[in-house]
Symmetry: C2
Subunit: 401 residues, 2 copies
Amino acid sequence: MLEEISGGVCAPLGFKAAAMQVNIRKPKKDMAIIASDVAAAVAGVFTRNKAAAAPIQVCQQHLQKSSVARAVVVNSGNANACTGEQGRRDATAMARETAKCLGVPEEQVWVSSTGVIGQHLPMEKILSAIPDLSKTLTNTGSSDAAAAIMTTDTFPKELAVKLSLGGKDVRIGAIAKGSGMIAPNMATMLGFVTTDANIPPPLLQKTLSRANAVSFNRISVDGDCSTNDMVMMMANGLAENDPMADGSESYLHFYAALEYVLIKLAKTIVKDGEGATKLIEIHINGARTENDAVQAARAIANSPLVKTAFHASDANWGRIMAAIGYSGIEVVPENVEISFGDVPILKKNFDIMLDERKAKEVLLKSEFEVNVNLNQGEASATFWTCDLSAKYVEINGSYRT
Amino acid sequence: MLEEISGGVCAPLGFKAAAMQVNIRKPKKDMAIIASDVAAAVAGVFTRNKAAAAPIQVCQQHLQKSSVARAVVVNSGNANACTGEQGRRDATAMARETAKCLGVPEEQVWVSSTGVIGQHLPMEKILSAIPDLSKTLTNTGSSDAAAAIMTTDTFPKELAVKLSLGGKDVRIGAIAKGSGMIAPNMATMLGFVTTDANIPPPLLQKTLSRANAVSFNRISVDGDCSTNDMVMMMANGLAENDPMADGSESYLHFYAALEYVLIKLAKTIVKDGEGATKLIEIHINGARTENDAVQAARAIANSPLVKTAFHASDANWGRIMAAIGYSGIEVVPENVEISFGDVPILKKNFDIMLDERKAKEVLLKSEFEVNVNLNQGEASATFWTCDLSAKYVEINGSYRT
């Protein structure tokens, strides 16, 4: 029933995008606008970092003032974070200029930035680009927008799906960017999601928060914590499906499609982690609560020692056990079982099954699963991470210069 | 008044040490015993990892049974962690054999292991070495013992000081080992401290805990969390100083000497962090509480993005601000001030002072200070960390193989 289609954020009816090269920090496409032809229900999830960037603060204000939005203006190369009052004025000016060019209310335009922290935006360049961007909005602009929001990403991240809700075709499109991967608390993750589904703003917010919790919040780029992380979703209703009620069959169908899109993009972000060569899917089973499962998975996913071992295809399961041990959850180490793919590594009571050759076969793959059974409950969680390579160090030592 | 002397853990009266090569994992000195001629008051601080290794569990049992100790037996190359019942039997057997050879009660011998997790100790090798070790104890054995406890350390860590308490010379000696540095939660840190001071066991424990909290617990090898971390201190009273009371002048003098020794060793561990090329001292001032200061410092010290920037001598202060922002403390970003050494980088209200050339001059040094003023209280803390280099990845990808 769910079909992948082309077109990214412009696949849903009534959405257009445009991008251009403004040379904010490097000679590349670095500004974009995504806009809906009509007012769209809007929802957002934002970083919880205490030093949240100016654009985050402006989006949160606009969301308080208005449950609908018409557009978002984005730049890469400069995060407009740690820029104080001037930063807030700059972010507001970006939204205001875009609103003026599109002829819509200011609070219906969101603004997003990613890049270096602690530098003021080159506002002259940015403001003079907005009229041109507004004029070139097109329903084939998604890929350009996906490219424009990239920083150290090595490829654009874009996806769209089509589903049927009560006889009406509904589309969901999305673009995203990732960044430094082993630094779960500081990498900037941006996601922009569009849909022509008809869904009221409060349910849209609930839906985005739910799907975000099991996708972008389950990768080693942690949406909780960078200064600039955000995911924005606009739903303009042009598909004219009957309104969805929470928990209804059509809602669950829609939710599943959104979760599919966000998980697939989230995994793409991990794959493109700085210096990453492997995508690792961590399954925790047998936890007392889902929170416990996530906490254990996150500890494994964030451990530099685990990640360097994965990089070297070294079946150093003791590092996984130690990570679970310090994750903060209650755990009986004797109960823990570990397998790599379907190769058992450790059974209960530290019964070590490790066959180095078979284990290495799994770890040499570019994608593999790590399965952990805590054997103390019924809850589970899935989490995605990548390996840690010397290239990560190289990229992050030279990023700013 | 405080004088550095030679002799390490054998500098205090009545302490001897011995080491030998048992080839547990590599052809190097890998076993040691440190012993006191007479029963010594004993204190310990241990990892809080839920998967605490067998030797940790045995030491905790011995400490419960006896407030004095005579010796500790240590091996490197194998952590005896995640080894279950068999592991506890092996650790106990090490203590028992050492106790037998020294003619002392079993519970007065502690045992400590460091190395690979999840493998059983080669007990035949280990047990047959203990009689020889016991026979070769000498008051010049400290350096050999310091070498025997090394794993990925590149140099042994040893220190001793002499002070005068009420007319009596008192000595404190110590050896330590560190390990992976950016993995604060999994590196094994071992410290063995001896003194001929006369101090009752409860006060010794309090004193060790206090000094440990501002030394080994303030570096990026976090004593809270590896499976094997421990610091053991023995005080045999042979200096015959008058008993010390908590808070007395002589106690404060003794405490200051111990803190000096532990901080100096802790800094040495950071300097020798895997792949480390720089020692960075982080000062947080103006925090509401000392806990807040430590939490902010720890976030900065553990951030891979901050550490890679330091490695590249890149004055990327925004990453420091972001780390403070996600550290979990309440903070007003506008109030934060940052300097590298005495070069101001950021003043209140994001007033950026950054002079790239001057900042780089500081960051190019092999040791420098990062000063952060949160400007919201009177509390402060100091923390030590190192940079993150590509060599760290290399070391940890190949450690086990």
